[in-house]
């Protein structure tokens, strides 16, 4: 029997489907995303394609799913009514945040409002010190009272984030035990499990975001899985992680914050797959859509990941204007440059493009839907990059004259240029903006972008990729087949993976290596067990990493570790740290002491390769 693997990507406008059969055949499908319940479109798309190709649900070996559900729920703030429990004296850590303004010169700027309002922020008597020792034990009676109050206020979800729990999880676990006893119906997340990292504001924000969307994701996935089973599906249903791997539905329900970027990440994973197939060591995935452009780096087939991410940045994508989320995410820089970005002349007499967008309503002037501002799409049209008679496969006609008219009015006339020159200017400036974002992203990672080939993705990607490549000094561009459903294809090339982190702080030269080895082995065993439960026992890869820094620094870098007995390889570890440091910051320091913070393990199954 032919078996089939399916990738399903639910985006804002379309739900994309890609099928690969055990005979190596590939099929694409597209259907409109449904609101308010996107799972309807998911099932409709599947049903349509199953029927079209004469397949039955029991032929489906696996379904890998990515969705913007989590990120949308956070941006639109339509998750569960959520409470936060913190250490006594620190009720407002979620609101005090970084005590600063993300834009120095805009006096009217507002910071994102916390997901948990003050009346739902509770504190409990307990305290750990910075080395993880107990300064004040948990007052369980008080914790019980707090939970009673929480239940009485009609809350559905609770985040627990106690000070220094990244070093010692015992107090948070104790609070959870109380909750199980007195309020078992509550959804609850503890920060030492969701994101065991130093900096209480970021950790609270992440934990709150996780539990805020948890009931929603649980309902959505449980129901979807049920529907699939009713239709005869017997395969594995996996979710795409923001960090690039896939996870089981069970994990996604526990840590929904980790499927935050599960849609957009597919493009990068597809780029990574291409990179491995074509033996390209360095690939820059360039994804340009209607309102934003994204760039991500892939080295040796592995996308760069980060744990610094913000959800819902304000209109100019300014750093600090969003809600911080510290979980592994494929590192993507996003800027407000897309087909809908609006061009204009500022008061210095310079041409500016974006970040304001005409969106899909009214859309670019050439759409003829009432748009009066010149956009990148209008410029592309005037320059002949777009065929007015074959936009969206001929489903929509574009109005060249209208495009010329608005460019003349809003850009060409004030700058003393003719409309074609002005259009070229718009095209160039938006390319420059994207190139400079890609370049700064690369330099932040210590990479030279000229060593990369550019892989185009997204609706507007192929139109701009050539000139962006010119600016960056890149000499190879890649235009994949099926660029429109690239993300869903990427899902099918990713592998099932579990990742773990344990904090163990210490100075490298006096570290208890036996303890490190115990931690690492524990994590590896746990990963292998989880993989076995998902039916994977062979071809397992283990990746070990550690966060390191010089003593006194507060920013660490993540360094990959050798396999085998770690304690015997201290010198190798030091060298790896210094190499990574040098690559990032030009030079390493020879005299200063090195410290270790978090030990990380990723256990992953083999990924699939498709030519």
């Amino acid at each position: 029997m032919t078996t089939i693997r399916a990738g399903v990507d639910i985006g804002g406008t379309f739900t994309d489907l890609v099928f690969i059969t055990s005979d190596g055949e590939r099929f694409f499908g597209k259907t409109l995303t449904t609101y308010p319940d996107p799972s309807e479109g998911f099932i409709k798309g599947l049903d349509e394609n199953m029927k079209k190709h004469g397949w039955s649900y029991d032929q489906l070996e696996s379904i890998i799913h990515g969705t913007t559900l989590v990120v949308n729920a956070l941006i639109e703030r339509n998750g569960a009514k959520t409470a936060l429990i913190t250490t006594e004296g620190f009720r407002d850590q979620l609101e005090i945040a970084s005590e600063s303004r993300y834009d120095l010169y805009d006096l009217m700027v507002d910071n994102p409002a916390p997901l948990v309002p003050r009346h739902l922020r509770f504190t409990v008597p307990e305290r750990l010190t910075s080395d993880g020792s107990v300064y004040k034990p948990v007052d369980e009676a008080k914790v019980e009272e707090v939970f009673q109050e929480i239940v009485a206020s009609g809350v559905e979800a609770v985040a627990v984030c106690l000070l220094h729990s990244y070093r010692n999880a015992a107090h948070e676990q104790q609070v959870r035990e109380v909750a199980k006893r007195v309020a078992p119906e509550l959804h609850l997340s503890i920060s030492s499990e969701v994101s065991p990292e130093i900096r209480e504001y970021q950790r609270s924000s992440t934990t709150v975001a996780n539990v805020f969307v948890k009931p929603l994701v649980e309902r959505y996935l449980t129901q979807l899985e049920q529907t699939l089973i009713e239709r005869g599906f017997r395969g594995t249903f996996l979710m795409m992680l923001s960090g690039g791997g896939t996870c089981t539905v069970e994990t996604a329900i526990q840590f929904p914050i980790r499927i935050l970027e599960s849609g957009p990440v597919g493009g990068t994973i597809a780029g990574a797959h291409y990179s491995k197939q074509a033996d390209e060591d360095h690939v820059l995935v360039f994804d340009m859509g209607g309102t934003t452009a994204k760039a991500s780096l892939v080295d040796q087939g592995v996308p760069l990941t980060t744990t610094e991410f913000e959800v819902g940045r304000a209109d100019r994508f300014l750093k600090g204007s969003g809600m911080p989320v510290k979980v592994p995410v494929v590192e993507m820089i996003e800027i407000g440059a897309g087909g809908g970005s609006i061009a204009g002349v500022n008061r210095l007499g310079l041409l500016k493009v974006g970040p304001k967008s005409a969106s899909s309503v009214p859309g670019p002037a050439s759409y003829g839907q009432g748009g009066t501002e010149p956009t990148v799409t209008d410029a592309d049209l005037v320059l002949g990059y777009l065929n007015p008679d074959y936009f969206l496969g001929g489903d929509m006609r574009l109005d060249v004259e209208k495009a010329k008219e608005v460019i003349h009015e809003k850009v060409a006339k004030p700058l003393g240029l003719d409309p074609v020159e002005a259009a070229w200017g718009i095209h160039q400036v938006v390319n420059e903006n994207m190139a400079s974002a890609a370049r700064i992203h690369a330099v932040e990672k210590g990479k030279d972008v000229r060593n990369y080939s550019l892989y185009a993705s997204g609706g507007a990607g192929p139109v701009h990729v050539g000139n962006v490549a010119n600016i960056l000094g890149v000499n190879t561009i890649v235009l994949p087949v099926g660029a429109g459903v690239n993300s869903a294809f990427g899902f099918l090339t990713s592998s099932l993976a579990f990742d773990f982190v344990r904090s163990f702080y210490g100075r490298l030269h006096e570290l208890n290596w036996a303890h490190v080895m115990t931690l690492v082995t524990e994590m590896e065993e746990e990963g292998k067990q989880l993989l076995a439960r998902a039916g994977v026992v062979e071809g397992i890869t283990v990746i070990r990493k550690v966060d390191m820094k010089y003593r006194g620094q507060t920013h660490e870098i993540t360094v990959s570790l050798p396999l085998g007995n770690i304690g015997d390889q201290e010198e190798e570890i030091v060298n790896r740290f210094k190499d990574a440091y040098r690559e990032l910051y030009a030079e390493a320091n020879e005299e200063m002491e090195i410290e270790t913070l978090n030990w990380r393990v990723i256990v992953q199954a083999q990924s699939r390769c498709y030519n």
Partner: protein
């Protein structure tokens, strides 16, 4: 402003190159933040990064940083050039200095200036001003009565000669500061970040086939200056006055300003301001100017880039020796207390002509929690973290809770404070009702209770403001709450770690 055909750059090319410059300065700032050895830079971002032409005019700056550093460095770098023979500068030279009267107002801010050579020609400078964790003496404290008590004054001099570090100076610094490991690590971070920026600038010049930054810099400055002048021209001519009171040290201090708009220029005179304090809360004129420039730009022209051009139409004066124009050897270490209030005084004057853009008074001065002493391990430490009160109510909306203004520094996470110092925070939360009443209220301040885990005596210099004069709203009857401070006795025991 219309396109002028005689420009060397068309508007598109200029926009492209300008973006590149800001990008590489951001990279400089980011390198500094990630490689620094104190939370002052890594978490609080008390720093600045800028590119200067041969004459010391600032062409561009990183978006990261705080006005007290950005703007004071902008107008302070030219003092380096006056005091060092620029003709003899060589590739690999790096300049250093912390003159408190000419740059950012106290010895703790060290400015590092690196000359940029391209094709063997000196074409300009990269600079950064960073708050180091200690400079010896009384350190970050209002208690000094002259600069001679306040720590190490590094005159404008070479830190590196042709790539070789000045060992004598380094030894002097190491010997005189409380936290030599952190201080030297941070100075090195500044130097390295500027090397990274130079490499990036040279790539940019090569790509655009430019010999230097003269022409592009002149164009950037000219455009910014024109735009700033146009923005000022929209204000009604006239003189607008305001005054406010600060706690001061030995007695309350009056800040008084008269802001004159005349055509395309703004002139602020602080005549009538109290004379200098005996204690270290005196502000140098360059720091006063930095913050006046900042609030003017933020209210009148927030979208215009900050550089030499946007500074030119603004000038200030204050009687020599008054609290806003400190001269040698007046003490200055805690100059931010008054320095953050001076621009608030100017905003009050601007309120008369820009009522829909000017916020009411807020806490203003950041609460710098500085502690130095000896930790349980017997090692000396010196740490500072910043905390924000409430920002003033704004036209049509509330003020921001616990947010720095006019300063741009950030707070430091409690977990970072406790992991990198002996300070222990018992409580840090919003202070209910502290924003005052009214249709739009001021931001809430904070209640902070802290201690120090040490078995020896330690020093906590108190740098407070607003204990006597609460922030005023519009109309003036709406007041915020005053700051309160109390001492409690509490002993800390050395504890054995349970996790290792």
């Amino acid at each position: 402003m219309q396109n002028n055909p005689q420009h060397a750059f068309d508007p598109i090319q200029l926009e492209v190159i300008w973006n590149r410059l800001v990008t590489l300065l951001e990279e400089q700032a980011k390198t500094l933040i990630r490689t620094s050895f104190t939370s002052i830079l890594s978490d609080a971002n008390d720093l600045s990064a800028g590119l200067f032409n041969k004459r010391g005019d600032m062409i561009a700056q990183a978006n990261t940083g705080t006005p007290g550093h950005i703007n004071s460095m902008a107008t302070g770098v030219r003092h380096f050039l006056k005091n060092v023979d620029t003709e003899t500068l060589k590739q690999g030279d790096v300049l250093i200095g912390n003159n408190p009267y000419e740059i950012s107002g106290h010895l703790l801010d060290v400015t590092i200036v690196t000359p940029i050579f391209f094709d063997e020609n000196l074409i300009g400078y990269f600079a950064s001003t960073c708050h180091v964790s200690d400079v010896g003496g009384r350190g970050f404290s209002p208690e000094g009565e002259s600069i001679y008590e306040e720590g190490l004054h590094i005159p404008y001099m070479k830190f590196y000669s042709q790539g070789k570090v000045n060992e004598t100076l380094l030894t002097l610094i190491r010997t005189n500061v409380r936290a030599p490991y952190q201080v030297v690590g941070d100075l090195r971070a500044q130097v390295v970040a500027q090397e990274v920026a130079i490499a990036r600038l040279i790539e940019t010049l090569e790509e655009f086939d430019l010999p230097d930054v003269e022409e592009v810099g002149a164009e950037i400055i000219r455009l910014s200056e024109e735009a700033m002048r146009n923005a000022i021209r929209e204000l009604p001519d006239g003189t607008y006055e305001n005054e406010l009171w600060s706690d001061g040290s030995e007695k309350p201090i009056r800040l008084k300003c008269a802001l004159t708009v005349k055509g395309d220029r703004v002139y602020v005179d602080f005549a009538g301001t109290s004379e200098g304090s005996k204690k270290a809360i005196n502000v140098c004129l360059n720091y006063t100017l930095a913050y006046v420039n900042y609030v003017l730009k933020a209210t009148v022209a927030p979208d215009i880039p900050s550089n030499e051009g946007s500074f030119r139409p603004v000038s200030i004066s204050a009687p020599e020796g008054c609290v806003l124009n400190a001269v040698h050897p007046m003490p200055t270490a805690s100059r931010h207390i008054i320095g953050h209030l001076a621009p608030i005084c100017v905003l009050g004057a601007l309120h008369e002509i820009l009522p829909d853009r000017v916020p009411a008074e807020g806490a203003a001065a950041i609460f710098a929690l500085q502690v130095h002493g000896v930790d349980f391990e017997g090692e000396p430490f010196s740490n500072v973290v910043f905390n924000a009160g409430g920002a003033g109510a704004r036209p049509g909306k509330d003020g921001l809770n616990a947010t720095t203004f006019p300063s741009g520094v950030k707070g430091t996470p409690v977990e970072i404070i406790e992991s990198t110092s002996s300070v222990f925070i018992h409580e840090k939360k919003l202070r209910e009702g502290s924003g005052g009443d009214g249709e739009f209220r001021g931001g809430l301040g904070q209640t902070i209770t802290f201690g120090v885990r040490s078995d020896q005596a330690y020093h906590v210099p108190l740098m407070f403001e607003r204990t006597q004069f609460a922030p005023k709203g519009f109309p003036e009857v709406q007041m915020g709450r005053k700051l309160e401070c109390s001492l409690m006795s509490k002993k800390y025991k050395k504890r054995k770690s349970s996790t290792r």
